[in-house]
């Protein structure tokens, strides 16, 4: 069969957008990889979501449902996918570089003895099905091109928001096949016992299309509402620099940068953030960067597409109002 398998991550029964991005990427590479583009979805009661994967480009969907798969399990998920990949003699396995994908990808690659390319922003297939991946390294200071030396069981995770999603128009009938775990899921050595929702902004940073971030320029936690109001108007997620996190204004889950999250939104608005290299490491692959800073020499302006030199305490309320107007009208 020798095709592509896309791991279609779902949480709480909802397939992640990045899984659809991976499906589109798989369709783009299909003529070079050969075979079918199949999706695999794992969880508890996720059959409804499985159907939606066809529209996103899956020619066949493999569905593993089990109450023990309600929460993510590295061993459980990897066993199911490895088993399937061997049966299908899969060439390429794609998934999102999410917290789940970053865990599952390396595990699967080691299990299958295949190469692993993480957090890719570009994928190609050359020669006889060999993967070539473009991935930022050194916190985005270098772009590296890596090439696989084997054409089977190649595993790659893709950075969210980088690859487009294209709906497939074909009226394919849904082909869903149920699969089961080759291992006893009740006796795994590591098991998620609980998932506790953290109080963070409504939109998850790593998946957000727009992010508004605040830094030390906000002067104190009480002023973060300026950033939050703008985010609200834009339907954006809220981020923070390390200086703001270290000062205790926001929890670490908000931090963007080398020791925080890597984000790649369509639009990143940095408010009162100087643009230290470690901050850039987390956001420089954003499509559009906007900086608001009172210091015209702040390094953030060097990478910004648009910037306003000015006092954020004046700018942000005006910007929020202006955005609301545009959105309404």
């Amino acid at each position: 069969m020798a095709g592509t398998l896309v791991f279609s991550e779902q949480r709480e029964g909802k397939v992640k957008r990045v899984a659809l991005e991976a499906l589109t990427a798989a369709r783009t590479l299909q003529s070079k990889v050969g075979g079918e583009v199949a999706a695999v979805i794992i969880g508890d009661q996720v059959a409804d979501e499985a159907k939606g994967l066809t529209a996103a480009g899956a020619e066949k969907v493999y569905l593993a449902e089990d109450p023990f798969l309600h929460y993510y399990s590295s061993e459980g998920y990897a066993s199911i996918i490895a088993d399937l990949a061997k049966k299908l003699d899969t060439r390429l396995i794609l998934m999102g570089a999410t917290m789940m994908g970053k865990d599952l990808g390396p595990k699967l690659a080691a299990r299958l003895g295949g190469p692993f390319a993480g957090d890719c922003v570009g994928l190609e297939i050359v020669d006889e099905g060999m993967l070539v991946a473009h991935r930022p390294i050194y916190g985005g200071k270098i772009m590296s091109t890596v090439k696989s030396r084997q054409s089977g069981f190649q595993v790659a995770t893709i950075r969210p928001n980088v690859f487009p999603v294209e709906k497939q128009t074909s009226e394919n009938t849904i082909r869903i096949e149920r699969i089961t775990s080759p291992c006893d899921l009740s006796s795994l050595l590591a098991q998620v016992q609980e998932v506790v929702a953290t109080a963070s902004s409504k939109v998850e940073l790593t998946e957000a299309r727009i992010i508004v971030s605040g830094g030390r320029g906000l002067k104190g936690p009480e002023n973060f509402n300026l950033v939050e109001d703008l985010a609200e108007a834009l339907g954006a997620a809220v981020g923070a620099s390390r200086a703001a996190v270290d000062a205790g204004w926001k929890p670490h889950s908000y931090q963007v940068g080398l020791t925080g999250k890597t984000v790649s939104p369509l639009l990143y608005i940095a408010c009162g953030i100087s643009g230290a290299i470690q901050h850039l490491a987390g956001m420089s692959s954003s499509k559009y960067i906007v900086a608001i800073n009172k210091d015209p020499n702040a390094p953030i302006f060097k990478i910004a597409n648009y910037g306003i030199v000015g006092d954020l305490f004046e700018i942000l309320p005006l910007l929020t109002e202006a955005v609301k107007k545009v959105r309404e009208g």
Partner: protein, 263 residues
């Protein structure tokens, strides 16, 4: 507890990194090196366990001659012994090859806990720790920011931050953990610590000492090779507006709406 911490020496994060002239490697002139920041969380966690429970802490690295400095740094912090795997045949390897070598070294002893960083800030691959867990047949929890050991039950409860939530994983020891910021605040080495580090045992091993098949690792065994590296596409400085606040905002909104089309 017997604890191992795998550490990597990497260029300091504030370094300017440029490709070398052949575009295969980075230009290393003038770089200064540190212990990978995420590995420091692993060393610190191991030392904190040792302060509570009778433990020994071994730091392990695979790297060039220079990487010995990183091991000495960890010994100065309080690790008991170090293993340095050093062999010219290891050049040009990938994460899988590194994992294979580390696995062989780690299998020579029984460790209850093995710590890694969540990723090395040079190759940003985030694979080695998870690869090792898989190769050793051990369970793992990746990217942990809290570890609650229950030694009498032979298990631990580890927390990791996922998108919008915290995942609490119950795991049986022996196990592998990869460490994230937030796990602890790493200490600094003390002067007596630095003096003592010089006397602590540091073993150097080659591939032959380990009995690793040289064709399975290094450039020869790599499943993934670097084709080329480049400076990233420079983002040309865009439109920086320096007018009065309301005019600036008006212009920015216009650009975002009409030029970037993101509003």
């Amino acid at each position: 507890m017997k604890i191992a911490v795998c550490i990597k020496q990497v260029p300091a994060t504030e370094s300017k990194i440029k490709p070398s002239s052949d575009g295969k490697e980075i230009d290393r002139t003038g770089l200064s090196y540190v212990v990978n920041p995420y590995d420091e969380f692993g060393v610190e966690e191991a030392l904190r366990i040792k302060e509570r429970l009778e433990s020994s802490v071994t730091v392990v690295t695979m790297g060039t001659e220079r990487a010995e400095e990183a091991l000495r740094t960890c010994l100065a912090l309080g690790a008991d012994q170090a293993i340095h795997i050093k062999d010219d045949l290891l050049r040009g390897g990938d994460a899988y090859g590194v994992a294979l070598v580390l696995t062989t070294a780690l299998m020579k002893e029984h460790y209850d806990i093995i710590f890694f960083g969540k990723q090395a800030v040079d190759d940003d691959s985030g694979a080695v720790g998870i690869h090792v867990a898989e190769l050793m047949g051990l369970p793992h929890v990746a990217v942990i920011n809290k570890l609650d050991l229950k030694p009498e039950e032979g298990r631990a409860l580890a927390s990791r931050q996922i998108e919008g939530a915290t995942e609490m994983v119950n795991i049986k020891l022996p196990a592998v953990f990869t460490c994230q910021k937030g796990l602890n605040e790493p200490r600094y080495a003390s002067l007596p610590g630095i003096m003592k580090a010089k006397q602590k045992p540091l073993t150097t091993l080659t591939l032959a000492d380990l009995g690793v098949d040289k064709d399975a690792v290094g450039a020869k065994g790599a499943k993934l090779v670097v084709d080329c590296i480049k400076a990233p596409r420079v983002r040309s400085t865009g439109n920086i507006i320096d007018k009065n606040p309301s005019e600036s905002v008006e212009e920015l909104v216009r650009l975002l709406r009409d030029e970037a089309k993101v509003l």
